[in-house]
Point group: D2
């Protein structure tokens, strides 16, 4: 299905459930996707960092994406992350995703290497040149250690290399300036800006962002859909209250012991523990070498789900 | 005068005008302060990073603070930055500020050194112990290369070491979680949260921040006062439109050539160029070793002031 | 062939020549390998960062590795980089390398993700568990944004997970402490330490490192072989003079314009330009999206080769 | 006394002993200085980061410097750190140091601010212009978050702004290239290069560095003097063995619990604990807000002193 222009609303980055043996748990992944669609999301983003794309083999990535495309069945569009170090490798993932029926591609700047903005622009142009699908830039400096420069994004928006941006930079000031500049150039209806700042969504929507890609949306999609709806209706106090509730729930990402596990493991482990406690997925395992959450941490997730009215 | 609890509204971090010889330009500094008070700000923050505190000698700092305290004359409270590397040096600045009549102190975590959160907490407790004035934490990782941990801020809020926070971290997600947690602990009326994210003030106020410390407020204080007023009145669309206009104006901070001057020089030079073009200050010079803005850059500032309706 | 224990001497990280169309240039790659073997190197490291591994597709990686294994023909051992984000993906590359006849694997800590030292240790143990080949840790914080903790390296050396370390961290103080500690634990003859600090090789060998993996060794392998030989013979003044000459030659990596191209492109482009000028490879192209060196930069490479006595 | 040109040998950065009340312990500081001079050092560096300059008030700095100048009494030259954020503040410290009889000034790039290389060069030129004393650049990116660019150092060496460099960057590859380039320009006898890489001194001297500024030299000055002597005599194996012993001793800097104290506190606490155990200083206290070493850590320091043959 063609992507709406612009793409608005809630587009959660799906967790990828695994079996205890480490295979993709197809039944559980379908359940995650169905639950999100049922909650009213506008699209599904598969193989993002919340989807543990960095941990999955190429074969596992194909299984995950194929499963979600099939489950979505054209009800909502499916964006596929093409996470790899540089251009040719990303293009290979984009090609595979197109064959599996994805509706759009999400790609980050090169990483592992030291790259110039001119090289980043060329990177996106080459990826776009190799696929018929709309391409979203994935601004995630926490992972790739480069922030997409605003000038590069504007240049790639103007020449239609990029159809949109998934902004996980956390730099909401830069996002505001980008939104203002896109409007000044008349690009606000053709270039979709999705914020990944999942704790400041009300502010981002007030600033003109089109939608949100919240990792926490795996756990509470209905909350984010309500938040988006309130914002679209101009009911800002209710939007803020919903965001406050979700911000409190986000504490689940910090129940892991930072002295014993990485930040990625703690957040992804919490999303999966919550989905397991909610009965959506069969097994809360994350991919190696991530340290699993301990029992006390899982109990803390449970309490926070209760506090948030989800359990 | 005692600081209001909580401190709300617009509290600009004053630029420190200099003469061509590099002395504090007392007349111009008074004019800056008068213009801000006339625009309806809630307080004045002297000797912050926008005030070039890092560049001023101790004697110059005293002159600047004394001038502003005298000009304010009790009409609005004056916060004084106490910017130095570690505890004893900061405490000396805090002591000097108290003698000069400041109404509150703003201090950052230690820098130059490698410091543990427990040491940061002790740092603030010792500074607080050495002064009768309310103490604000200054979260400015761009300068001190440490983000104040939320747990530390909450601990120092709970035991009244800190009266508030000036959050220039740009991490609006962390700010949201802090605000939610302060409310959960019943501290929202006693601990003042001022955002330094001057391009996302509408969102921060929607999230519950008490006020804003905008460097750009030197140039357009009336804009920030309107933005704050709209937000307090729940007129969010108008708040967002005002913020959009200010975000466009913020482009003045990037007219400097990044190949020829530092980020600090470019932003501070632009604020001063604008104040000079607006007829507020006599000389746009910044302190050495900052490279001054070139003629083309100053013209670009002028055009942006015109676009923003200020000139 | 089994790797020598310990592995000593010069083990250059081979450049991967490309055709103008971007395919692996098999003839030129063979020529690079033959020239290195002829110069007396102790091993060949394929698919490292100097080999543009981050830019090559899986198929290209297989072609490059297979070509070098065949060319080496058992005369010197071949180490294969297994560069990917996390454990399962790295293990897949290691498996492919084993099938192609590599004699050892070189793997870095996870990247793109935020990983704990305990997870890094588990990562290496799992990779080691999936292959019969000796495994070298690749400490390259510039690319993966984590430094391998000394405690982790020592633990993995003691339990034979790692057969050695390629230290490209540039932290020669940490390297010294590691070497001292390996000796204290009696591991100095079983755990091979190869420095990637190609400008301080004399010091590293004096400190007890077993060998060196110099990117510049692509250009001047005989120089590094001489340097190693002088060091082994205790002829330190001559070792230092050789290192000085190589350090001057290293200026080729900075002829690229940093305002127009990334650090990776500049260094890799210079190595390839030099190999092209020396008549070793047919085409100096680097993989997209790297900006190629301009004519003036290539001329500067030529002059530096002349200054270094190579042209 | 005039500084030797070039300045060679061991120039330890003196610890600043404190009384239990936090005042400068003048008797103990004299004892530190006497012990260093007795061990054969070439100069004394007061108010560096090992001297806790960042923690001392201006008055304390004056006391410390005055005490060491008086104790030295012209037997060895005294370098004074002028550690502050930007130019005017550094110049004030340099002026005070000159009045107190220092023989040279050591200053870093600006910090807290975001500074361009052209501004860094201007910074050093202005400091130099304000004093008659030789000026050393202090390259300490760990503290100031900027590495002094090689081009800037070479420019400031060529025009005699800088008399030398104290390189605490830990980037020994960059140091090698600088040394090679200084020789190429005929500056090797007029510009003094002192390494702060205290665990790779043998390599640095082999590369042509003139001397070393070792924090650990507070504890074992005789070891560093021997290391330097061996190197000057071309007895490299003995130099390396001495460096190995010192590298093992350096483990004292890691006895502190990283979960409970900062890296600065752990290292400085260990140096002072060692000096206390050795009977040189009366009290091992470090300045607030540094967490003091616990009893177990102090015992570990003692054992390492025994292992190193010092106790």
């Amino acid at each position: 299905m063609p992507l709406p222009t612009p793409l608005t609303g809630v587009v959660p980055p799906l967790c990828t459930p695994l079996t205890p043996r480490g295979d993709i748990d197809i039944r559980s992944l379908r359940a995650v996707a169905e639950r999100l669609i049922g909650a009213g999301v506008s699209g599904l983003f598969v193989l993002g960092s919340s989807g543990e794309a960095a941990y999955l083999s190429d074969a596992q990535r194909r299984t995950a994406l194929g499963t979600v495309v099939e489950t979505a069945g054209g009800r909502v569009p499916v964006l596929a992350g093409a996470i790899d170090m540089t251009t040719a490798r990303v293009a290979d993932h984009a090609h595979a995703a197109a064959e599996l029926g994805a509706d759009g591609i999400v790609a980050a700047a090169p990483f592992f290497t030291r790259t110039h903005p001119a090289e980043i622009a060329d990177h996106f142009r080459r990826i776009r040149g190799g696929t018929d699908l709309p391409l979203f830039g994935y601004d995630i400096p926490r992972s790739v250690h480069t922030k997409l420069p605003a000038a590069t994004v504007l240049e790639l928006a103007a020449d239609s290399t990029l159809a949109g941006l998934k902004d996980s930079s956390g730099d909401d000031g830069a996002l505001r300036r980008l939104l203002v500049e896109l409007r000044r150039r008349g690009l606000e209806d053709t270039f979709s800006v999705l914020t990944g700042s999942e704790l400041a969504v009300d502010g981002a929507l007030l600033a003109g962002a089109h939608g949100v890609v919240p990792g926490l949306g795996n756990v509470d999609p209905a909350g984010y859909v309500r938040l988006h709806m309130y914002a679209r209706a101009g009911r800002w106090a209710e939007a803020a209250a919903e965001q406050d509730r979700l911000a409190a729930l986000f504490a689940i990402t910090e129940v892991g012991d930072p002295a014993a596990m990485g930040g990625s493991s703690s957040a992804l482990g919490a999303f999966k523990a919550a989905l397991h406690l909610l009965g959506v997925i069969d097994c809360p395992a994350t991919a190696p070498p991530q340290v699993p959450l301990g029992d006390a941490a899982v109990k803390a997730v449970g309490r926070l789900l209760e506090d948030g009215g989800l359990l």
